[in-house]
Symmetry: C2
Subunit: 231 residues, 2 copies
């Protein structure tokens, strides 16, 4: 059985959790704090980043890029059938569009939004090394950047069924993973972004999303709408 080392409010981990749930893969979970330099974890992944997927004794797939491509690569479920969820559906140009958007959310959105908001409101608060109040200038920068990214999702959804085109893909889960973390922090201005909200409501109502909505970080309560499919 696979084991996923993750953290509940790590967007990279969340994107893989969503995809694994869509694939109906049986998986055990272990938690690791992303702000901790744990020697045991660094032995498994010297880059020190989450998530890590242990696929067999001695074999760990490290980081969201390697894991998502590994799961797409292996392609078959335990019974040898094609997985219920295709990470990168379509022809090579459509797959390139999916990967462009995965890159957008896991890199651009992360560095412009998630790293500020999750970094300041979560990591800084719980990391004994830096601990303390969030830097409100960085929080405001993240909130301002978020509006730009929401309008980009709106723009994409004007002509598309899902973010990368006709089909649900890993791009949707990468984007939803980041937004769901920010939503836990109460920072998504959904009422200003109806098109993005419609897309997120569809993702949020999928069975694969349920475990994310029951995640709770001790000492940090999400707003009531966080777990409400009619938010």
């Amino acid at each position: 059985m696979f084991t996923l080392i993750h953290y509940p409010l790590c967007p990279f981990s969340r994107s893989i959790r969503l995809a694994l749930a869509e694939c109906e893969v049986d998986v055990r979970f272990e938690q690791e704090k992303p702000w901790d330099w744990n020697a045991g974890f660094l032995e498994i992944n010297p880059a020190g980043i989450l998530p890590v997927l242990k696929v067999s004794a001695g074999t760990a797939i490290c980081g969201v890029y390697a894991i998502s491509e590994y799961l797409a690569d292996t392609g078959l479920d335990e019974a040898g059938d094609a997985r219920a969820f295709a990470f990168f559906p379509g022809d090579e140009t459509e797959r390139a569009e999916i990967r462009r958007l995965v890159d957008w959310f896991h890199n651009k959105f992360d560095s412009e939004v998630s790293s500020y908001l999750i970094g300041e409101k979560l990591h800084r608060r719980f990391d004994a090394g830096t601990g303390g109040a969030p830097d409100m200038e960085l929080v405001r920068a993240g909130q301002a950047n978020l509006r730009y990214h929401l309008s980009y999702i709106e723009h994409l959804m004007e002509a598309r069924n899902w973010l990368a085109g006709e089909h649900l893909s890993f791009a949707d889960f990468a984007a939803a993973a980041h937004l769901s973390c920010i939503d836990y922090l109460g920072d998504v201005p959904w009422s200003e972004a109806e098109g993005a909200k419609g897309w997120y409501a569809r993702i949020k109502s999928r069975p694969s999303f349920r475990t994310l909505l029951t995640d709770r970080v001790p000492g940090l309560r999400p707003p009531d709408e966080y777990a409400d499919p009619d938010f």
Copy 2:
């Protein structure tokens, strides 16, 4: 014919240039400055990042992740034969190890080394908006981090033929692309890292590397050893 939009000292662009040269793909080049917000370029790639591979009229593959996987995906050269260079050779576990290392260099090395050194010594100098002298504190941070990454390459090369294992892969080109930019700036302490130097010497002597060694940025001269295979 493909067109690659790149910048000579952009490590992401360099990794794709090396791979394209290994694949013996015929390609035209256009330059774009990574610190410029050029409206025409943003229409092609709204993320504003390099490189971009125009594969046909109206179809542009954006970013190093999408391009490398696209080229691996299509897999065939213009005559319909398997490409001379396999981006991710091996079984699914070996491919995951290659991607872990691509991620390491294009993300971790980039944020800990390249973004400091290239950002301060090149972008800051030529960007009229921020223009001026490099922040030496950031330069020193990048130089210190570089030593750690060189020792990681040494560690890998103790048991391996190429970075990810037995075969040359895109991980070698991702790593060599970053190091070659830092080497242009004269910041790689090769004499302190014999194992890494041996690996880099083998990459540097490949025909695919030649065009990188003739790159020159006006007003910024590389050290003499930059283009010397016996450095």
